[in-house]
């Protein structure tokens, strides 16, 4: 005869486990009270990290994710190479007499287009993390709240730099010869990455706002296609109808392209550069604020 009484377990009868041993047979792991006790010892709480430190830590997280899923770098290398090759050889002969000649005009613009296109992955990443619940943990930490988002964007800035570098190398191989030299090119890339960092706040906003990864993608396309194509990237706007010229004229991407061209050509256009910086600041102020509002209320 065997007798099992399950209900004689009273809440106080936990003494068997206080010393860390478990009565289960075949359990490969027994929680160890002594080891845990050392970690749980009170009085070891450090002060909360600074805003910069928290942001950099989240940036480190973004880099770790690139390390673990290197396939995601495919998007920032293959896509820009394809864009550069495609448009150089597709339009080069017709628009400028030869691909090499067209490339001198196209390269800064195609670099801007590619990098700005890549910014949409920010929204997708944010959206994916929300679904997995990682966000909930971050949001219960007593840290500077925007640091989570700044972290994403720091990781993205790395990707932007990488995409820009890839395009530059392809361009140089194909015969791109910037008059502005190393300083001019680096200046243009720095401006582009800074603008993209600021512009990406629109995607963190959409990443928090929209329900699924797919809808984030959809909205991104809807915004990015007109913004990058209805610009001065591919041709001189003077051949366009008046209403289109008006749009191209106010499109921030056109200003960014003009600024980048001027830097790479060795004759920086301070007017355009200022325009770009102001646009970036406005973007952070507006979309950054909206992002944090959504983040806090989510």
């Amino acid at each position: 005869m065997s007798t099992t009484t399950e209900s004689t377990n009273t809440p106080g009868s936990t003494t068997t486990t206080q010393n860390g041993t478990t009565t289960e047979n075949g359990t490969s792991f027994a929680p160890a009270s002594e080891t845990l006790g050392a970690v749980l010892a009170p009085g070891t709480r450090p002060p909360r990290p600074s805003a910069l430190s928290a942001s950099l830590t989240f940036g480190w997280r973004a880099m770790l994710k690139i390390k673990h899923v290197p396939e995601q770098l495919f998007d920032v290398t293959a896509f820009p190479i394809m864009m550069t090759l495609m448009f150089t050889y597709l339009f080069g002969g017709a628009l400028a007499g030869s691909p090499t000649e067209y490339l001198q005009f196209l390269l800064p613009g195609i670099m801007v287009t590619s990098v700005v296109m890549i910014t949409m992955y920010t929204g997708v990443e944010v959206n994916k993390d929300i679904e997995k619940g990682v966000f909930d943990r971050f949001r219960t930490l007593p840290i500077w709240r925007p640091s989570t988002m700044v972290g994403y964007l720091l990781g993205d800035a790395f990707r932007y730099t990488m995409a820009a570098t890839v395009i530059l190398v392809v361009g140089l191989v194909l015969g791109f010869r910037p008059q502005g030299g190393v300083a001019g090119v680096l200046g243009a890339i720095a401006l582009l990455v800074a603008f993209s960092f600021a512009f990406s706040w629109i995607w963190t906003m959409f990443g928090l706002l929209l329900r699924s990864e797919k809808s984030v993608m959809g909205v991104s396309m809807l915004v990015l296609f007109p913004l990058t194509f209805l610009s001065n990237v591919y041709v001189d706007p003077q051949t366009m109808p008046g209403w289109l010229q008006a749009f191209v004229g106010v499109n921030p991407i056109s200003h960014l392209v003009s600024a980048a061209r001027s830097l790479m050509a060795g004759s920086p256009d301070t007017g355009e550069i200022t325009w770009v910086l102001v646009c970036g600041a406005v973007s952070i102020a507006v979309f950054g604020a909206l992002t944090m509002r959504l983040y806090n209320r989510k």
């Binding site: 809440p11 027994a30 009270s33 450090p46 619940g133 943990r137």
Partner: protein, 340 residues
Amino acid sequence: MRDLAVETSGLVKIFGKNRAVDGLDLAVPAGTVYGVLGPNGAGKTTAVKMLATLLRPDGGEARVFGHDVLREPDAVRSRVSLTGQYASVDEEMTGMENLVLLGRLLGHRRAAARDRAMRLLEAFGLTEAAGRQVKTYSGGMRRRLDIAASILNTPDLLFLDEPTTGLDPRSRNQVWDIVRIVVAHGTTVLLTTQYLDEADRLAGRIAVIDHGKVIAEGTPGELKSSVGSGSVHVRLRDAARRPEAERVLARELNTPVQLEADPVALTTRISGQDADAGAERASRALAALAASGIVVDDFSLGQPSLDEVFLALTGAPPGERGPARTDHPATGRNAQEEAA
């Protein structure tokens, strides 16, 4: 009176027309394990999220160690930690990276964060898996890592939202052991669960919630005595003796006896005042069977299930009290009072 870790009064959260949390009153004493027991959809996760500052309450008040969750969220955040119902660790990163990341975010320097992470992984039996991506972990390992991440900074209050749902029995026992160790080191634990058994084993006090309100509160003993101590299952050696065994049990326990489909099995309920008395009466019944010369092959005293608790408290199984569910708070409360 002891300090309260959590104190809510009339807490409300509404999703559209759904009153997910509907006037919740809780008082969780510090230094204990407090169980919040309720079926799926009772509002447990919603309540915990409000207490952990992840959701804004739509009404009522909630204080954590005296800090209002709406007015002083950072004060609350610095003292609590949440292990959500769904793992909140990063699948693509390794166990080690997950813990170091959180250590850094809690303000530890790099070396200290690594050191803490290593010791936690060791204490949780994850040293070997430390360098592997979390997506390769089993459910139990993931849950352990999640809890490790939550106690990284020795929170004063730890929320565990259904920590063992979906785990195998062994992993469940490990989680229970961890909870006991954590609370022994002075952390208050608020644990939500769908299993009476789990709340009974771990919690000093239990609140039973349904449709966003507390429908019963007390020590596990008090709760069980309101329900009866549970059911007695008996298996006889000889099916022919069953009618006689039925009479003996009915006499000794003074409750109706149910004959199971299995010709040697009988089940009955014990209506004792507390668990110990129930066990005592059960063993007396067993002795009476033996005295009558009936051979018992197997005997077990089961806990009342959550369903039985609900049946006893509300007169209906969980989620089936149609009229009590209403969009109008006033009538909702009336219906609730009538049911109680």
